[in-house]
Every structure is written in structure tokens, then in C-alpha cells.
């Protein structure tokens, strides 16, 4: 099977393959243009007769569970990333596969982290054929250097759910690491020594995979409540000593930024929102968990407090600052996609108005609506933007894959999307003529806030009108780009080979851009 074939130029002007890893693919057709047909995928029908009557699905170890699940060459194995950089389970799966001599597996994580770097040896020796999900850090570098046997595919959180739902990806075995589970397979992420908050990223895996293995380090008697994953989807339960490293599960970025430059970005972003009338009683926002985004949340809290307003809901990444806003009554609900610190975990456990969500409810584009488009203000980051407000989040300007898409693409459907980003990072200008990799079409990105000025997308004439008398430094994006190049110099373009090593999919499963091998 060749990695890819039949290149075409898509509606964004990017050349993409229309056959990927032997399967047909549809090039990006424009926002909202591609309408799916057909029915959702469905797992096989099973019978209780084949499952223990006493509901005890515990097997001695992960290897036995994988053998019972029928692990063999060419399968798709999925994992979730709620343990972030503290995950200890994903690596074990492929250690076992390697030991068994299994080859050509497709790894389907909801995201990968530096702790997964040892997987490169399995990509190298063919245990893993390719990754569809995200390729961060060393895995990204490996992919960018053309070393992966199959073609990588990057999807957003919502896109991952959509791909499984639509049958684009068929999961053979889902391995769900769960901080607490009962022998029947009900499980959650809020309780246990390695509590991570929720298991929303494993929902599609549980619902659609042929075989589902729950791995836990905290087995409790039936019933395990709340059951974020129902045991009715689960085939086997494995008890292990430790699922993850708790201090690495918690993100290192749940502190507001101390950098004066980032604080300035946060202040201007909040001031922009205020002056443009985007903040009001009952508004909603999503701000992420990076240092700058957290700081914006603090400024929002100050405004709400001062005016006696409340936000109707905030979407998380929950963290201690958002929890404080909830418990102070400045936010009525937290709709949480993943918890970033222990305060988020505690709050989810204790506060009835702090509820977990999944990519199905928040982000799935092939559904009857999703929460992302309901949000008034969305704050996001980017590695690059261009003069047409397109954004890149997966590669840096040197062309190396270093990040996953996360929820970025899905959040672009919020009502106003603001990107507070530095004008340049370590001499690398962030505003380019054309982004190296297209992840977010410019039609959906409204405001770019840099420390040297704020650019409003010309399509947002309403915002331009509202801000015309503002004392904030509103400037054309071309001018900001020129200033960056004056300070840093005009950058060369990185050198790429013609070989495509990965593709970026859009929220509707169409192919948005290709990532080519870096010539080093």
C-alpha cells in the first residue's frame, strides 16, 4: 500500500492527496460546503452470553487482554490523552505488541506528549505503521523527517470523533486508562490516586471500537459512579500498579503568565473584548490553559466583578482560576473538556455546575450542532498566522511538526475568535505571507493581538466600527508583519521535499493541507 496518491488542489489552494494509506479522501471544499451522506458506523452486535454473568471482566494483565482482544498485524489501537505527559499505559501496549511480533499497527491517540517519545523505536521497526492523531515533539520530528512508514494524519478533537463516527477510522482495540473502575468496566476520571478529571476523549473509542479494554489502578466494587464510560461497552478490565505519574498529569501551564509581554497581550485582549461590547451579562467564553489565556480569564473576572455580571458558562480546560470564578459566582457553569489541574478535578467532583463534556457534545461537526459555535469569545494560540488571517498550530516556521491540533479547529466556530500571540518568538516572525501549514482558515479568525498592535479581520466590519475610536493600537496586519520583519529580518522559506509525510484534516474529515518532509 502506498502512503498516498492522486494529488489535487483543494478549495484553500493547497495540494493534498485524495488517496491516503490506501483509502479515498476528500479534499477540503470550503467551510460548511462538504455535506456527508450515509449512516454512522456501528460496532458489531454482541451477546451477553459471551460475557461473564457475574459481570467480572477482570483479566490478569494487559498482555492477556490484548491477546484475548485478538491483537494482530494491521490493527488500529486507540488511547486517550487525559494523563497528558504522565501517561504510562500507551507505551505498554506497544511494548507488548513488539514482544508479540505484531506489525503495522495504526496508533490512534487523542493526542501525544513527550512521554511518548520512546514510541519512535516502534515506528522505526514497523511495529507501528503510522499515527493518526497528533505528532508532538520527537514524534513530530520523526514524522517530518519522513521516517514513518505510513502517512500521518492530524485531526482535531472533534475531527477524531467525527472520523470514528463516520467510519473513516475503525478502531479494532481501544485501551482506556481509567483512574477508577469496577469489574464490569464502568469507569470515571474523577476518583482514584491518578484522577485526571474526565474521560471524554475516550467516548468515541468506547462506543465504536470492536474491543474495549479498561486499565485501572483503582478497582472498586460495582457500581463505579459516576460512570463516564459505561461498562456495557467494555470487554476486559485490567488492574495495574500505576496508570500515570500524577505530577505530570497536571499541566505545567496552569499559572498565569509572569511575562510582562504576555500580560500586555492578555490585558489588550480583555480590553478589546470589553470595548467591542463582547463581554456582557450572561456571555460565554473559552480561554484555554496557557499562561496568557489564563491571564485573560483573570481580566474577565475583574470586569464581571466590577459590573456585577455573570458569565453564563465557560468552556474548559478547567483550572484553579476558572474554578475560583465558578465558586465566586462569576461563572454559572463550567463545561469541561479536560481538567488541567487538581483544583479542576476537585471541582468536577464537588460542584454540580461543573460538568464534563466530550468531543461529541463540544466539537463534533457531523452532528446536530455542537457547543463550540455557542461561545461568545474564544481565545486561542497559534504558531503562525498569515496576512489573510489563516493560522497554523502544528508546525513551526522551520517546517517541523511539533504540536497537535487539539480543539483549535473546532473552537474557530465561536462567535469571536481572538489570537493573542507575540509578533515574533525568538527572532521568528509569527505573521507570514502564507502559513507553512494551514490549520485554521482565515474566514474564521477575527482578531490577532500582538504586543505591537492589534489586527482585525477586514471581514469583521462590525468590530472595526466598534473599535474605531479605541485608544488600543489597531493596525493593519500587513503593517504588523512589516514591523516584525524589520526587527527580525525577512526569513527564508524552509526547504521541503516533494514527499508528503502527513496531512491535516478539517473538522468535516476533508483534507485541508499536506505536510512535507523537511530537508535538513
Amino acid at each position: 500500500m502506498s502512503k498516498y496518491d492522486k494529488l489535487e488542489k483543494n478549495a484553500a489552494g493547497r495540494v493534498v492527496p485524495t488517496v491516503i494509506n490506501g483509502r479515498p479522501a476528500i479534499p477540503f471544499q470550503g467551510i460548511g460546503k462538504y455535506k456527508p451522506t450515509g449512516y454512522k458506523a456501528a460496532p458489531k452486535i454482541v451477546s451477553c452470553a459471551d460475557f461473564p454473568e457475574d459481570g467480572n471482566k477482570v483479566v490478569p494483565n494487559l498482555k492477556e487482554a490484548l491477546i484475548k482482544a485478538g491483537l494482530r498485524d494491521g490493527m488500529t489501537i486507540s488511547t486517550h490523552h487525559h494523563f497528558r505527559n504522565g501517561d504510562l499505559v500507551a507505551g505498554q501496549i506497544f511494548d507488548i505488541a513488539h514482544e508479540m511480533g505484531v506489525k503495522d499497527l495504526m496508533w490512534f491517540p487523542s493526542a501525544s506528549f513527550p512521554c511518548h517519545e520512546p514510541m519512535t523505536k516502534y515506528l522505526d521497526d514497523g511495529t507501528i505503521n503510522r499515527i493518526e492523531g497528533s505528532m508532538n515533539g520527537a514524534l513530530g520530528r520523526f514524522t517530518s523527517e519522513g521516517k514513518m512508514h505510513g502517512l500521518g494524519i492530524l485531526r482535531s478533537h472533534g475531527g477524531r470523533y467525527q472520523s470514528v463516527q463516520d467510519g473513516e477510522v475503525h478502531i479494532d482495540i481501544a485501551v482506556i486508562a481509567a483512574p477508577t473502575a469496577d469489574p464490569f468496566g464502568n469507569c470515571n476520571g474523577v476518583n482514584g490516586p491518578t484522577a485526571c478529571g474526565l474521560l471524554g476523549f475516550a467516548l468515541a473509542d468506547a462506543q465504536y471500537a470492536d474491543k474495549v479494554i479498561v486499565v485501572t489502578d483503582n478497582l472498586i466494587p460495582f457500581p463505579c459512579l459516576p460512570w463516564q464510560i459505561h461498562g456495557n461497552y467494555v470487554d476486559y478490565v485490567v488492574v495495574t500498579d500505576q496508570l500515570g505519574i500524577p505530577e505530570k498529569i497536571v499541566s505545567g501551564t496552569t499559572e498565569i503568565t509572569k511575562s510582562p509581554d504576555r500580560l500586555l497581550l492578555a490585558e489588550w485582549s480583555a480590553q478589546f473584548c470589553d470595548e467591542a461590547g463582547l463581554i456582557h451579562d450572561g456571555f460565554s467564553f473559552q480561554a484555554g490553559a496557557g499562561g496568557t489565556a489564563l491571564s485573560i480569564g483573570i481580566y474577565f473576572a475583574d470586569i464581571l466583578r466590577e459590573r456585577g455580571w455573570k458569565a453564563r458558562f465557560a468552556r474548559g480546560g478547567s483550572n484553579k482560576y476558572l474554578v475560583k470564578m465558578l465558586e465566586e459566582g462569576l461563572v454559572e457553569y463550567i463545561l469541561d473538556g479536560q481538567t488541567f489541574d487538581l483544583e479542576g478535578v476537585r471541582s468536577m467532583r464537588e460542584n454540580p455546575t461543573h460538568t464534563w463534556t466530550s468531543p461529541f457534545t463540544s466539537y463534533n461537526y457531523h452532528g446536530k450542532g455542537n457547543f463550540a459555535s455557542l461561545i461568545d469569545i474564544v481565545i486561542l494560540g497559534a504558531t503562525e498566522v498569515d496576512v489573510n488571517f489563516n493560522a497554523n498550530v502544528v508546525t513551526h516556521s522551520d517546517g517541523y511538526l511539533l504540536h497537535g491540533i487539539g480543539g483549535f479547529q473546532n473552537c474557530l466556530f465561536g462567535k469571536t475568535v481572538i489570537l493573542p500571540i507575540p509578533l515574533f518568538r525568538d527572532r521568528i516572525p509569527v505573521i507570514r505571507d502564507e502559513v507553512t501549514t494551514l490549520c485554521g482558515p482565515g474566514e474564521l479568525i477575527d482578531v490577532i493581538v500582538t504586543e505591537r498592535g492589534i489586527a482585525i479581520n477586514p471581514r469583521r466590519t462590525d468590530l472595526i466600527e466598534k473599535m474605531k475610536n479605541s485608544k488600543l493600537p489597531i493596525r493593519p496586519i500587513e503593517e504588523l508583519k512589516a514591523e516584525a520583519e524589520k526587527i527580525c529580518g525577512v526569513p527564508e522559506k524552509p526547504k521541503f521535499s516533494d514527499e508528503i509525510v502527513a496531512v491535516v484534516k478539517w473538522v468535516d474529515g476533508t483534507v485541508l493541507d499536506s505536510i512535507r518532509r523537511v530537508i535538513s
Partner: protein
């Protein structure tokens, strides 16, 4: 395996090179003669480099070459000059006394299977700049002058894909400018801007040679402004003179002034290279209208510092630990000498800093030492150490000294400037400190973090009550003018001219700080 020296054209390595494909990127290869090798044994070299050059597109075939000079054992020494751009390379600098296994692929493995001990030898090698964890927007340069072999440039940069060519071009241009033909330059770059790279390299060249040439980067048009004696100096942001990462965005936080510090914020062994950094910052970094100040060192070093800053449109010189008018004269004499040589007319202000008991006692003489003394500052950390106590939030220990500085400055018609507030996490403490400072009569203070600027400005700024009062006075003045009256009065109260002047200053400041609309008179109604 022993490695023996042979006649230059017939060494094992040379034979191999003849028989294997010569990399496209390799222009020429020279070998030392045995005589040269013996002579080299007498000299020393502390580094050896391993370069791996990848060839072409498709699967890269790493082809390894290395050069080294051996102290104790005879070996083939190859001098390699790569004139064309290599497609990729890695460098390894050996440490003296360590052993290294070097496995080279294909044809070379049989030569170098065993450990190689590389003895350190001495040469003209200098380093400048910074590197390591947490270092950003800077670079570390290792420069070795050699007596032959041409120029070898090794660039390790996190921005190599985007600026690799630019970096090489700049280094080559500078080496040509200084007339250096034979050298190895190794740059470890963490995203340094061009003015920084140029400063680091020039500092290295000056360190390694006796040159008095200067490589001047273009002066930004935006940096060609002068400042006035009584310009607003609420905040002055200290920037360590050898830390470029803090300089690049300093101006966006809108301090009234920035201070490129060559004195206490620079380690003694970095003071020479800091001069080039500060000079290039004055020329090539945009501070967005902030007054550009430099704090020079004390004594003779400080006078020499002036050679690096006066020609580059510095607006103000801070003179640390000033204890006599003679120190001001010495600085001024040097400034005049430099300005005469460079034919500059624009004013350079001086702000002496009182940091000792003797300085406080002589504050009046210092404040009036010269026409271009625009302000008088106090440095409380050193002052309190000098009087044998420590600084407290209440400031009782420095109350007298601060008053003496204020009185001396006011008597001389210049601005009194207060010391820094050291706790960057305590914004309320800072605000209280500014209120005390303002109450004593200071016109501004130093700051050590951009977060402090807003609090300092807001607190030094006129309050709404002060603005309202000033509006009444200025309005009364306007009315008096219209009626041709010589006396300004508010109700039954006569307003003295100095009070009127202060009111105008308050209004001007309020307008400048966006606390009052500049056309306030049009809608003003006296209450």
C-alpha cells in the same frame, strides 16, 4: 589502532577520499605537510571538530570528516575548508582529557574504531555571549584565530532554517571587515537578532585582536531623537546591559526612560562585551520614544564606557555613586571631547546618583555641577549599606538623605528622582512607596520590571482632585487674561504665579496621560 603520519598526498585518508565520491559541498581539501605538523605540535589547540556533511536529496549519506591536532601522537591532520553551503552538519567540541569514540561510516571505520584521546592544546580562542537553559534572543560565540586554513564557520541555531544564510553572511562580512582571514567561528544561537550577533562577534574579535576598528550597524531612524531637560521622568526601567532578551520589548511597556546598565547589572567579566551590546542597542533596537539612558561604571572604566555610548545618540548618562562635582566634570569633559570629535550637537543630560552619605552631603554641589545635569537621583540600596543599616518599607533611615536630594534638586531647578522599589511582586507596596515619594517632592523613580511602570505612572500622575483644582486655577488665569487683569484670583483668594505655573504643569501632564481631554476648556464650567 595506531594512526601514522604519512606523506601528505598519500595518506590512507587521502586515498580513501580519492576513491570515494567527493561531496558536492566540498570545494577543496588540503593536508598538512609533515613539517607543518611538527611545528603544530608545539602549538596547542583546545578544540577538535567533527563535521558530518549530508549530501544531496534522497537518503542522506552521512560522510564524516574531522580535523584535529594531536599533541602526543602522530596522526594525519586534515585541514578542511568548506566554502560552499553544507546541507547539514553537527559539531562536537571535545573537552580536554576526555576520550571519544568516533564511528564514521563506510570507508572510514577501519581508521577510527578505537578511542581517540585528544589532548588539549592552547590557541587564541575567545568566547562571548550567553547560552544555556533559559537563554533567549542571544548567542554564544567561540572564536579561534588560526594562522592558516581559511575561515571555518559553524552555525548552530534554532532559527537556522529561516536565518541561517543571514547569520553566515553577517559573520563573513564582519570577519572581512576586520581583515581576519584564518579563523574558526562557532556560534550557538538562541534566536539572537542581528544587532546582538554583531555585538557578540565584535566583542570576540576585540578580545582576540588588538583592533580599534568599530563595526557599526545602521542607526535606526526612530532612534535619532533628542530629549529635553524637563521631560517627564516618572519611570526609568533598568535593563541589564548584557541581556538583550530584556531590551527587545522594553519600549512597548512605555517607560519614560530605559536605562541600559553597564554597572551593577553586569558581571565583571562581562563588562567589556556589554559595551558592544549597549552600543548596538542604542543604534539598532527601537525603544519607542523612551528616553535612552546608560548607567556607566564608576571611575576610569566609566569614562571609557562613554566612548561606546556618546557617539550613538544616548540621551542621558547616569553617573553612579556620585560624591563630588568633580566626578560630574570629568564625565562632562569626556562627553565634550567625544562630541567634538564626532561633531555632535545634541544635548546629553547627566543624572548623578547619590548612593552614599558623602554624596548626600554634597548633593547641592553635585546638582549644580553643570548645565546639563537634568536630574538628581538617589540609590537607596547602596546608601543604606553605606550608612550601616538596611532599607525598610517606612524609609526612616533614608528620610534625611531623600529630603536633601529633593532640596538640592529643586534649588538647582532640576528633577529629584527616587530609588527603585525592589519587590516586583508587591504592587500595593510599590503604590505606597510612590505616594511617599511624591509627598516628599520626587518627580519619578527607577523601576526594575515592566509590571511596575503602570503603578508608578498612575500614582505619580495627578489625581482627579488635583486635576479639578488645577482646572479651576487655569480657568481663573484665562479669565484674568481676558479681562486684562494682572492678578489671578479664585473667589476672594489671590493665586500666586508659582501656583498658576504648577497648575499649568498639572494640566499638561493630565492631558499627556489621557486623564484630561486636551480641549477641556471648550466644555469647562466652573463649579
Amino acid at each position: 589502532m595506531a594512526i601514522t603520519a604519512e606523506k601528505s598526498n598519500n595518506t590512507p585518508l587521502r586515498k580513501i577520499l580519492k576513491s570515494s565520491p567527493v561531496p558536492r559541498s566540498l570545494k577543496y581539501l588540503r593536508l598538512n605537510s609533515q613539517k607543518a605538523m611538527r611545528e603544530r605540535k608545539k602549538r596547542s589547540m583546545t578544540t577538535a571538530s567533527l563535521m558530518v556533511i549530508t549530501m544531496g536529496s534522497g537518503n542522506p549519506l552521512p560522510v564524516g570528516f574531522f580535523f584535529f591536532e594531536a599533541g602526543l601522537f602522530r596522526a594525519v591532520a586534515i585541514e578542511l575548508s568548506v566554502a560552499a553551503k553544507v546541507q547539514g552538519y553537527a559539531n562536537m567540541h571535545t573537552q580536554p582529557g576526555n576520550s571519544y569514540k568516533i564511528y564514521l561510516p563506510l570507508n572510514f571505520h577501519f581508521l577510527f574504531k578505537s578511542d581517540i584521546n585528544i589532548r588539549p592544546t592552547m590557541g587564541t580562542i575567545v568566547t562571548t555571549g550567553n547560552k544555556g537553559k533559559g537563554v533567549r534572543s542571544d548567542c554564544f560565540i567561540t572564536l579561534e584565530l588560526t594562522d592558516q586554513g581559511g575561515m571555518l564557520l559553524q552555525v548552530e541555531s534554532k532559527v537556522a532554517a529561516l536565518y541561517g544564510t543571514d547569520i553566515r553572511k553577517k559573520i563573513t562580512e564582519m570577519m572581512n571587515f576586520f581583515g581576519i582571514v584564518n579563523a574558526t567561528v562557532h556560534i550557538e544561537d538562541s534566536g539572537a537578532l542581528t544587532p546582538v550577533i554583531a555585538a557578540r562577534l565584535e566583542a570576540a574579535i576585540h578580545k582576540a585582536t588588538k583592533t580599534d576598528k568599530e563595526y557599526l550597524i545602521p542607526m535606526l531612524e526612530e532612534n535619532k531623537y533628542v530629549t529635553t531637560r524637563d521631560r517627564n521622568r516618572f519611570s526609568r526601567l533598568y535593563l541589564p546591559g548584557n541581556t538583550p532578551s530584556l531590551m527587545i520589548n522594553a519600549g512597548i511597556h512605555k517607560p519614560d526612560g530605559i536605562i541600559l546598565d553597564l554597572e551593577d547589572a553586569v558581571a565583571p567579566d562581562k563588562k567589556d562585551e556589554a559595551r558592544f551590546m549597549v552600543r548596538n542597542a542604542l543604534r539598532g533596537i527601537d525603544f519607542y520614544g523612551a528616553e535612552r539612558m546608560v548607567r556607566i561604571n564608576q571611575g576610569e572604566r566609566g569614562l571609557d564606557d562613554l566612548d561606546y555610548v556618546i557617539p550613538h545618540n544616548v540621551n542621558l548618562i547616569l553617573l553612579p555613586k556620585c560624591e563630588s562635582p568633580e566626578q560630574v566634570h570629568a564625565v562632562n569633559d569626556k562627553i565634550k571631547k567625544i562630541k567634538k570629535k564626532t561633531k555632535q550637537d545634541d544635548p546629553v543630560w547627566i543624572m548623578p546618583i547619590i548612593e552614599s552619605a558623602l554624596g548626600a552631603i554634597r548633593a547641592a554641589a553635585i546638582a549644580t555641577a553643570a548645565d546639563n545635569v537634568s536630574s538628581l537621583a538617589i540609590g537607596l540600596e547602596d546608601y543604606t549599606a553605606d550608612i550601616g543599616t538596611r532599607r525598610t518599607p517606612e524609609g526612616n533611615e533614608s528620610f534625611v538623605a531623600r529630603n536633601m536630594v529633593v532640596m538640592a534638586a529643586r534649588a538647582a531647578g532640576i528633577q529629584p528622582i527616587d530609588s527603585v522599589f525592589s519587590d516586583v511582586g508587591d504592587m500595593e507596596g510599590l503604590r505606597q512607596n510612590v505616594l511617599r515619594s511624591k509627598a516628599l517632592g520626587f518627580d519619578g523613580m527607577g523601576c526594575i520590571h515592566p509590571r511596575q511602570i503602570r503603578v508608578i505612572h498612575d500614582t505619580f500622575a495627578p489625581t482627579p482632585d488635583e486635576i479639578a483644582k488645577a482646572q479651576k486655577i487655569v480657568h481663573a488665569f484665562d479669565v484674568a487674561q481676558e479681562r486684562g487683569l494682572g492678578v489671578v484670583s479664585l473667589g476672594t483668594k489671590m493665586i500666586d504665579p508659582p501656583v498658576v505655573k504648577r497648575a499649568f504643569n498639572t494640566i499638561n501632564l493630565a492631558v499627556k496621560m489621557n486623564k484630561l481631554d486636551e480641549n477641556w476648556r471648550e466644555t469647562y464650567e466652573q463649579v
